[in-house]
C-alpha cells in the first residue's frame, strides 16, 4: 500500500518538475508581494500576551510540573508486545503489582498488543534497579516480546539532568556570544530574551501535555532554540542593513519594513519545516512522537511568532536607533 502511495507521489514530482521546467505552472503566491502590516504597533498587544503566557507557563511548571522520563527520574521502562493478540492491561497490572516494586504504571502504546510499563526508581541504588527489571522479566516470561527495556540508575539520572540543563545554558550563552560578535549587544540581548521566551513557552506546553521530559526533549528544546534564532537572525540581518541604508527612518517604521520584506521568506520556510515535521509526526512512529510534537509546537507555533512579534520590536526598548530623526529620507548610498 505505502509503496503505491510513494510511487504515485514520485510520479507527481516528476510531472510537476517537467511542467515547471517548461514554465507551464501558474505562480503560487502565499504572501502578496508588497505587504505593509504594522507589526511593531502590535507589540502593545503581543508583549502583554507573551508576558502573561510566560507567567502561565512558569506557574504550570511549578504546580503541574514536568512529566520526567526515566532519563532524569531514574527507574525502569519496558515496552512489551503481547505475542497472542491484544494485551490485557488489567491482568498484567494485577500480576505485576504482586512483585512489591512500588508504583508501576501500565499504558497502551501504539497498537492494542503494545504496552508500556514504567517502574518507579527502587530504593537501594543501582543494583536494586537491576533486580527490579529481572523480576518484571521473569513475571511476564515468554508471553511477551520485549521491544525496549531501559533501566537508568539514580546516579546516572541525576547526571543526565544536570548535563542537559548545563547544555541548554551553554547553548544559550554560546549563541549569545556569537550574536554579540556579529551584531551589537542590543541584538544579542533581544535574541536572548526571545530565546528564553521560546523555551519557557515550550516548557509550559510540555507541562500541559505531560509528554515525557527526557534527553530527547532537551534535543527538541535545543533545536527549537537553533531555529527560532535562525529566524530572528534573518530579520536582524535585514534590520541592520536597513539601519545602515536609511539613516533617518524612525525605528518603528524601519522595523516594520524589515519584517514585511522578510515576511514572504518567513512564511515559506515555515511551511516547508512544518511539512517536514508533519511527516515525522504522522509517519515517524511513536518512538519519536513526543520529540516531533514538542518541536512542532516550538518551531512552528512559537518560533515564528517570537521573531516577528518579540525579537524585532524589543529592539526599540533596548535602545537601538534611539537618536533618529523623524524625517524619513534615505541616506546617500
Amino acid at each position: 500500500m505505502t509503496q503505491y502511495v510513494l510511487i504515485a507521489l514520485g510520479v507527481l514530482v516528476v510531472i510537476l518538475t517537467i511542467v515547471a521546467i517548461f514554465d507551464l505552472l501558474p505562480p503560487l503566491r502565499i504572501v502578496p508581494d508588497d505587504t505593509h502590516f504594522d507589526f511593531t504597533r502590535f507589540r502593545r498587544i503581543s508583549f502583554p500576551i507573551s508576558a502573561a503566557l510566560s507567567i502561565v507557563a512558569i506557574v504550570l511548571f511549578f504546580t503541574h510540573g514536568l512529566n520526567f522520563g526515566i532519563d532524569f527520574r531514574g527507574g525502569t521502562l519496558l515496552e512489551v508486545q503481547n505475542k497472542s493478540g491484544p494485551a490485557d492491561i488489567g491482568a498484567m497490572r494485577a500480576q505485576l503489582s504482586t512483585l512489591g516494586l512500588g508504583d508501576i504504571q501500565l499504558q497502551q502504546f501504539g497498537g492494542p498488543n503494545d504496552v508500556l510499563i514504567r517502574v518507579a526508581e527502587q530504593p537501594g541504588g543501582d543494583a536494586a534497579q537491576q533486580a527490579a527489571v529481572g523480576k518484571v522479566r521473569s513475571a511476564l516470561g515468554d508471553s511477551v516480546e520485549y521491544r525496549r527495556v531501559e533501566v537508568v540508575g539514580p546516579r546516572v539520572s541525576g547526571e543526565l539532568l544536570a548535563f542537559g540543563m548545563v547544555g541548554l545554558m551553554l547553548a544559550i550563552v554560546g549563541i549569545l556570544i556569537y550574536l554579540w560578535f556579529r551584531f551589537e549587544w542590543q541584538f544579542a540581548l533581544g535574541a536572548m530574551i526571545a530565546n528564553v521566551h521560546d523555551i519557557v513557552l515550550t516548557i509550559g506546553f510540555m507541562s500541559i501535555s505531560q509528554v515525557d521530559f527526557d534527553l530527547t526533549s532537551i534535543a527538541a528544546l535545543l533545536t527549537i532554540l537553533g531555529y527560532s534564532l535562525n529566524d530572528t537572525v534573518v530579520i536582524y540581518d535585514r534590520i541592520r542593513e536597513m539601519l545602515r541604508r536609511y539613516k533617518k527612518m524612525p525605528m518603528p517604521q524601519l522595523l516594520n519594513e524589515s519584517i514585511n520584506s522578510t515576511l514572504s521568506r518567513s512564511i515559506i520556510t515555515h511551511v516547508t519545516v512544518t511539512l517536514a515535521l508533519l511527516a515525522l509526526l504522522l509517519f515517524g512512529g511513536h518512538a519519536i512522537h513526543s520529540f516531533t510534537a514538542v518541536m512542532m509546537f516550538g518551531v512552528v507555533l512559537v518560533g515564528t511568532y517570537t521573531s516577528i512579534f518579540i525579537a524585532a520590536p524589543i529592539l526599540i526598548y533596548l535602545g537601538v536607533g534611539e537618536h533618529r530623526d523623524a524625517s524619513d529620507t534615505p541616506a546617500k548610498k
Binding site: 518538475t17 505562480p27 508581494d33 520485549y146 521491544r147 547544555g167 549563541i175 530527547t216 516547508t272 508533519l278
Partner: protein
C-alpha cells in the same frame, strides 16, 4: 557571484560528486562491500535503536578501590615498621588515612622509613610533583599516611583500564558480534552489543568479580563456634555459594589464586556425570599447589569464588600435575559461566550496571520502516511545495536539496557515523531547512526585481545579499547542534550529528551548487525576466 571560472565550477562539482559517492557502499550488502578496497568500505552504522541490541553502562566500585588501597598501605606500613624493628600501636585505617602511633624516640627513625613507601605519581615521567602517599607527623607520636585524591584517581583510571581488558575478554568469550567496549569518564565502561536481545546473561557475567582462591579450611574451631564469635585471627567465616547456605571457617592465607590459572573448561565428571570445571595452573601455580597439597593430605581445603565457598573437598593425595577439577553441584550453564570467568580472569574491582538500554529487533525494524516512510513523505511534500512556489527555480532548489541529502549520507559514511531514529528525523528536518537557503536567495531576488533591477543584476544582488544572512542564521543552529553532540548520548547524539552535518552541507550547497546552477541557466538563456 554569477561568474564561475571553469576550474572553480569543476572543483565544486567534483567535491559534491566525491562526497556523494561515499554514500554508495550503504546501498550494497555488507558481504559485497567487504570485497571492495578499504577506502571504499566506509559506511553508516545503524544505531542500537534501529538494529536492536543492548547498551550497558558499568561503573567501578570506587569505594572498594579506595579501601583496598588503604588496606594495602596499612599492610606495607606494618611490614616496614617490623623490618626496622620499631614498636608501634594502633595501626589502622581511619577514614581516608592510615594512622599509627610510635614512641617519641622512634619518630625520627620511623618517618623516613614510611616515606620510602611513597612514590612519584605517573611513573618515571611524572612531573606533577604529586606523590602516591603523604606521610605526616600529627604530633604526639601519631603518624598519618594519607593517600591523596590524585593518587586515588590515578589508581581508579588504571583499574578501569584493566577492567576493560577483562570485560572485553569475557564478552568475546560469549561469541557476540562486533561488541563496542569503551572507557567513559574515569570510572565507567560503556558496552554496546548489537543484536543482543536479553542482556541478563551478559549482566550476570559482568557483575561477578570472579576472584578465585584456593585456601585451607580451619579445623581448629567448628563453624558453629566461629559464628558464635570465636573466629581465630588468621581465619574468617565464609558462606557456601549454593543453597542451603552453610558456614565454613576458612584461613585467610591464599594458597593459589585464580591469576595462576592458564585454562578452565567445562566438562562432566566421568563417574557421577555431574557438570564440572577442570582447570590448569601455570608453572608457579602448579608448584605452589603441589606443595600445599602434599603438606596437607587428609585436610579439607576450600575453593573460594568472590568470598563464597564453591566446594571444600578433602585432599586425598598430593596434586602435582598442575591440573584439577571443581565439582560444586553446578548446572551445565553455571559450569560454562564459571569456566568462562576463570579463563577471562578476575576483575580488579566490582562493576555495577548503572544504565541499561535494550531494543529488540522487532522495534528496530519498525523504526527503520517508519523513519524511511516519514523521510520519503516529508521530502516529497517539501519538493512539491517548492515546485509550486518557485517553478523553474523550485527545480533548481530541489536539485540542490537532493545533492545536499546525498552529501549528508556521504559524510556520515565517511565518518562511519551512527544513524539513529532521531538522526533520521534530523535528516528530514534538514530537508525542510535546506530549502530555506534557497528561499532566502529567491525572495531576495524577487525583492531586487521589485526595486527595478534587471534580471541579471537582481539575481546577482539577491545571491550576494542573501549569502551573508544564510551564514549567520546557520551558525546559530550549528552551535546548538554542537552542544547537543557534546551532552548527548546514543540516539540524541545521532540527531546532533545529522543536524550538524546537514547544516554544513546546506551552507556548502547554498554557496556553491545553487549559484552554479543558476549561473549556468543565466549563461544559457540570457533571460530578460526571471520566472520566480
Amino acid at each position: 557571484m554569477l561568474y564561475f571560472s571553469r576550474w572553480k565550477a569543476l572543483a565544486i562539482i567534483l567535491t559534491a560528486l566525491i562526497v556523494c559517492l561515499f554514500a554508495v557502499p550503504n546501498f550494497f550488502p555488507q558481504e559485497r562491500v567487504k570485497t571492495w578496497p578499504v577506502w571504499a568500505q566506509r559506511h553508516i552504522v545503524l544505531g542500537l535503536d534501529l538494529q536492536g541490541g543492548s547498551y550497558l553502562l558499568l561503573e567501578l566500585d570506587t569505594n572498594y578501590i579506595k579501601k583496598e588501597r588503604l588496606d594495602q598501605v596499612r599492610d606495607e606500613a606494618r611490614r616496614v615498621l617490623r623490618e626496622a624493628k620499631i614498636g608501634y600501636t594502633g595501626l589502622a585505617v581511619r577514614g581516608d588515612a592510615v594512622e599509627v602511633r610510635v614512641k617519641d624516640s622512634d619518630l625520627q627513625a620511623a618517618l623516613p622509613k614510611l616515606r620510602e613507601l611513597s612514590q612519584p605519581l605517573g611513573g618515571l615521567l611524572g612531573s606533577s610533583g604529586q606523590r602516591s602517599l603523604e606521610v605526616s607527623d600529627a604530633g604526639g607520636g601519631l603518624i598519618r599516611l594519607v593517600v591523596p585524591q590524585a593518587a586515588i584517581t590515578e589508581r581508579i583510571r588504571q583499574t578501569n583500564e584493566q577492567s576493560i581488558q577483562i570485560v572485553e575478554r569475557r564478552i568475546n568469550q560469549l561469541g557476540t558480534v562486533e561488541p563496542l567496549i569503551q572507557r567513559q569518564g574515569t570510572d565507567r565502561i560503556l558496552v554496546q552489543v548489537p543484536g543482543l536481545q536479553d542482556p541478563t546473561e551478559l549482566k550476570r557475567i559482568l557483575g561477578q568479580t570472579a576472584k578465585m582462591e584456593f585456601r585451607m579450611v580451619d579445623s581448629s574451631v567448628s563453624p558453629d563456634q566461629a559464628q558464635a564469635g570465636r573466629v581465630p585471627a588468621e581465619s574468617e567465616v565464609l558462606m557456601s555459594e549454593q543453597p542451603p547456605k552453610v558456614p565454613y571457617v576458612i584461613k585467610r592465607q591464599v594458597l593459589v589464586s585464580g591469576g595462576d590459572l592458564t585454562d578452565a573448561q567445562p566438562g562432566f565428571d566421568q563417574r557421577t556425570n555431574e557438570p564440572i570445571v577442570s582447570f590448569k595452573f601455570n608453572t608457579s601455580g602448579a608448584r605452589k599447589f603441589a606443595q600445599a597439597t602434599s603438606e596437607n593430605v587428609g585436610q579439607p581445603f576450600a575453593i573460594v569464588l568472590d568470598n563464597k565457598v564453591i566446594s571444600a573437598p578433602v585432599i586425598r593425595e598430593p596434586i602435582t600435575g598442575g591440573q584439577g577439577q571443581i565439582s560444586g553441584s553446578f548446572t551445565v550453564q553455571a559450569a560454562n559461566e564459571l569456566a568462562l570467568l576463570l579463563r577471562a580472569g578476575a576483575l580488579p574491582a566490582p562493576l555495577t550496571v548503572v544504565e541499561e538500554r535494550t531494543v529488540g529487533p522487532g522495534l528496530g525494524q519498525d523504526s527503520i520502516e517508519k523513519g524511511q516512510l516519514a523521510a520519503y513523505v516529508g521530502s516529497i511534500m517539501v519538493i512539491v511545495f517548492m515546485l509550486l512556489t518557485y517553478r523553474l527555480f523550485g527545480v533548481f532548489a530541489n536539485i540542490a536539496v537532493a545533492i545536499n541529502v546525498a552529501m549528508i549520507f556521504g559524510i556520515l559514511s565517511l565518518l562511519n557515523a551512527t544513524l539513529t531514529l532521531p538522526g533520521i528525523a534530523g535528516v528530514v528536518l534538514t530537508v525542510g531547512i535546506a530549502v530555506d537557503s534557497n528561499v532566502l536567495i529567491y525572495e531576495r531576488i524577487r525583492e531586487e526585481l521589485r526595486h527595478g533591477r534587471n534580471a541579471i543584476s537582481a539575481i546577482d544582488a539577491g545571491f550576494r545579499r542573501a549569502l551573508a544572512t544564510i551564514l549567520d542564521s546557520n551558525i546559530t543552529t550549528f552551535i546548538a547542534a554542537a552542544v547537543l553532540f557534546y551532552i548527548g548520548t546514543g540516539p540524541v547524539r545521532g540527531f546532533a550529528v545529522t543536524l550538524g552535518i546537514g547544516i554544513i552541507t546546506t551552507v556548502f550547497t547554498a554557496f556553491t551548487l545553487t549559484s552554479l546552477i543558476v549561473a549556468g541557466w543565466v549563461r544559457w538563456k540570457r533571460p530578460k525576466t526571471v520566472p520566480i
